[in-house]
Symmetry: C2
Subunit: 205 residues, 2 copies
Amino acid sequence: MQSIPQSTKERILGAAEVLFAQHGFDGASLRQLTAAAGVNLAAVNYHFGSKDRLIEEVFRRRLDELNGRRMAGLARIAGLEETTLEDVLGAFIRPALELSHDGNGSLFMRVLARAFAEHDDTLRKFLSENYGHVMRQFTAEFARLLPHLSKEELYWRVDLVTGALTHAMSGFGMIQRKSDVTERTHREQAASHLIRFAAAGLSHP
Amino acid sequence: MQSIPQSTKERILGAAEVLFAQHGFDGASLRQLTAAAGVNLAAVNYHFGSKDRLIEEVFRRRLDELNGRRMAGLARIAGLEETTLEDVLGAFIRPALELSHDGNGSLFMRVLARAFAEHDDTLRKFLSENYGHVMRQFTAEFARLLPHLSKEELYWRVDLVTGALTHAMSGFGMIQRKSDVTERTHREQAASHLIRFAAAGLSHP
DNA sequence: TAAAGTGTCAAACGATCGTTTGAGACTATC
DNA sequence: GATAGTCTCAAACGATCGTTTGACACTTTA
């Protein structure tokens, strides 16, 4: 129950996230979208300029939060003597899982997985320019903790970890929470699975 | 140089695979597609009935070959005493890598990755009905080789392996072959990376 | 109170989509 | 040589797309 009604911009962004996750960027039309948001068709172009700019805003809103938390988590442990691989993976994975269980945030991971599959150059450039430093910093920390790996080996493994996490967090095959498990417990179990899997794949001899 | 010209159906299927990989199922129009294939616009509906049926045929053509090879590889080793986890993973991964390096087959893995991201129910049902038995059989063999894992643990890990392989084989971040390495060598290196990573992720304690 | 700014609305724009049509070319059958 | 079947072709169909327009209501500024 929201006593203060959402602004038109916020209603559009919310509906866009849901419909982009369900039907893709092309598949979700502005007519569907504005109808779902309860606003006029012309509102998207008035407030965002174009559909493409709306798509960018959908990303920016969630990724600023997501990667901000990731960098904050990494900053707490990076470079320390006692830091483990699991710690670094936790800093990368847990913010995404928290987002997944926050309102419509879970749908955003589906939107993100779509963006990866699209191979769209404009979108990739946008993601790389705005958030590329996050992956670079995490990779640097992995390199410090896995000194026995060559640069090529490490890149391979980090790439495979990225694929596994994107796939899992997009909810493609995510195992459903049972009714006798609290959501918090389930989230912790999911994080544990992901982290242990990734750590094993990254660090094997 | 093909002395025997391809049939209209084959030209459409070839062009469809390329354009679906590049622009997606919605993004690639029949007008682009038929122009690239050098055939008339109406040829798609004449030979395939509709765009959706064309999409199904694009999948069927490659997946029959791919999963046929996977099942043949699995049949050679399934249930044997001396079979290793790496053997089973090899039977699953190598046919996909061979496809990736065969003509336009590499683009098909991108098409497949798109299909996963789409979450389209019709397509998922089609894939599950026609090729679901392949994943079930491989999972059964994994279960035999990893008896210490609970059913839930195993499903989690197999799902994460699937994500990593789909991601990697779609060529998203696949490390480029260097010019001083033969294609065959590079393919073997890729298979080795994937198999070792997946084996570590599946079997860790 | 007049002017300027902000936001919403129905309606229309031109473009592009998947699909259908009907005429015509070609081959095989009788 | 007429007939039936297979295939190709240009053209058009209706639908839907993202975007633009101009009128109108409301608030803020002067």
